[in-house]
Symmetry: C2
Subunit: 198 residues, 2 copies
DNA sequence: GTCTATATGTTGATAGAC
DNA sequence: GTCTATCAACATATAGAC
């Protein structure tokens, strides 16, 4: 469906293609502020037509958050995330999270903007917190191993590192001037070595 | 006004106290998704009463964004931001921005969530971009001076550093376990030296 | 797979009493 | 400084025709 809009355009949407566009609109206006009318306009069909594909606005959010969380949680299932020195595991998880983010910018963006204003949002936040806890423990271990500077607060450090990665959604675009690989390289370089020459 | 809600509570709000509460509700639900009804409920008065103090919902956003941007821009007016080696100026700006953020979490949070969905939001975004450009130039200079690693992309680096700082709004609370000073220390430490022991 | 028509509630903002 | 009452526009969602 890349043909431009016109009166006689047939859309033939399915759940997947509706979801992709919905997530973009959610990201532009915020999930709560997005109306089915805005979605309908972005899709070029009527509100009622959307209800043929999905039962509710919240169901679209559910699908999107499940996908984003699934991708992140899959990182921790990789053997590289649970084998070897903590500092190496941390490097692997940092790089993988950055790649997942650049691979699925819009889904991860939506996840990072959830504030917990419904039961569904709160359960997504809980899964996000579980992920963050794993990272915190990795930082803790690496610090106990003497691989991370002892002057840093481990909880603050874990948050700063993942905050840095998360901020990438605010500017990274797949068709932009900086490749996904270069982003991941720079994230790991800054996180581990800092910007300053020694 | 710390007395708990009750039927006979007198509020005696003024623009300032309404703004503080409004910004919190904007941050919880997003500006667009926040209704005057929600604001009224949070304030414990009716919608109409709000209009006695402010002419519109958007005016509250204007006040909040102006304040947040003013605080950030003031950093660049300090002599320390324009004197000496670029790397020292950069360190000063990074630390100051972190302090401004911890001092005014809710106002800065609101600013960082603006997406450009109205003329007003777009002009706030433009001021934010002007600030970011100054930082980018600082990173560029420091790299030209040989003080910042040459393998890093300067634009990406500037974004990652300020992304890391901005992410602090997602967890920092003035009454939390980590002091504003410790946050600023750790931000500068990670940004300049990285987490890893050499 | 999409439409029109409709139901029921909420939106931002105003008028005017106290 | 706050209230009640009101407005036109818009919210989510459904029913049923094509």
């Amino acid at each position: 469906m890349t043909e431009s809009e016109g009166n006689g355009t047939r859309h033939n949407y399915d759940q997947e293609s509706i979801l992709a566009i919905a997530v973009d609109v959610f990201n532009r206006h915020g999930y709560e502020a997005t109306s089915m009318g805005m979605l309908a306009e972005a899709l070029g069909i009527t509100k009622s037509a959307i209800y043929h594909h999905v039962p509710s606005k919240e169901y679209l959010l559910q699908l999107a958050l499940d996908r984003a969380l699934g991708r992140l949680e899959a990182i921790l299932d990789d053997p590289l995330a649970s084998t070897g020195p903590a500092i190496d595991k941390l490097r692997y998880v940092l790089r993988s999270a950055t790649s997942v983010l650049t691979d699925d910018v819009s889904f991860i963006t939506l996840l990072l903007r959830v504030r917990g204003n419904s039961e569904m949002e709160r359960s997504a936040l809980e899964r996000r917190r579980a992920f963050n806890r794993t990272i915190s423990e990795l930082v803790d271990q690496a610090q106990a191993d003497g691989a991370i500077r002892p002057d840093l607060d481990s909880r603050t450090t874990a948050r700063l590192l993942f905050g840095m990665i998360g901020s990438v959604v605010d500017w990274y675009r797949p068709d932009g001037p900086v490749s996904a690989e270069k982003v991941a390289d720079d994230v790991v370089a800054v996180a581990f070595g800092g910007v300053q020459v020694r």
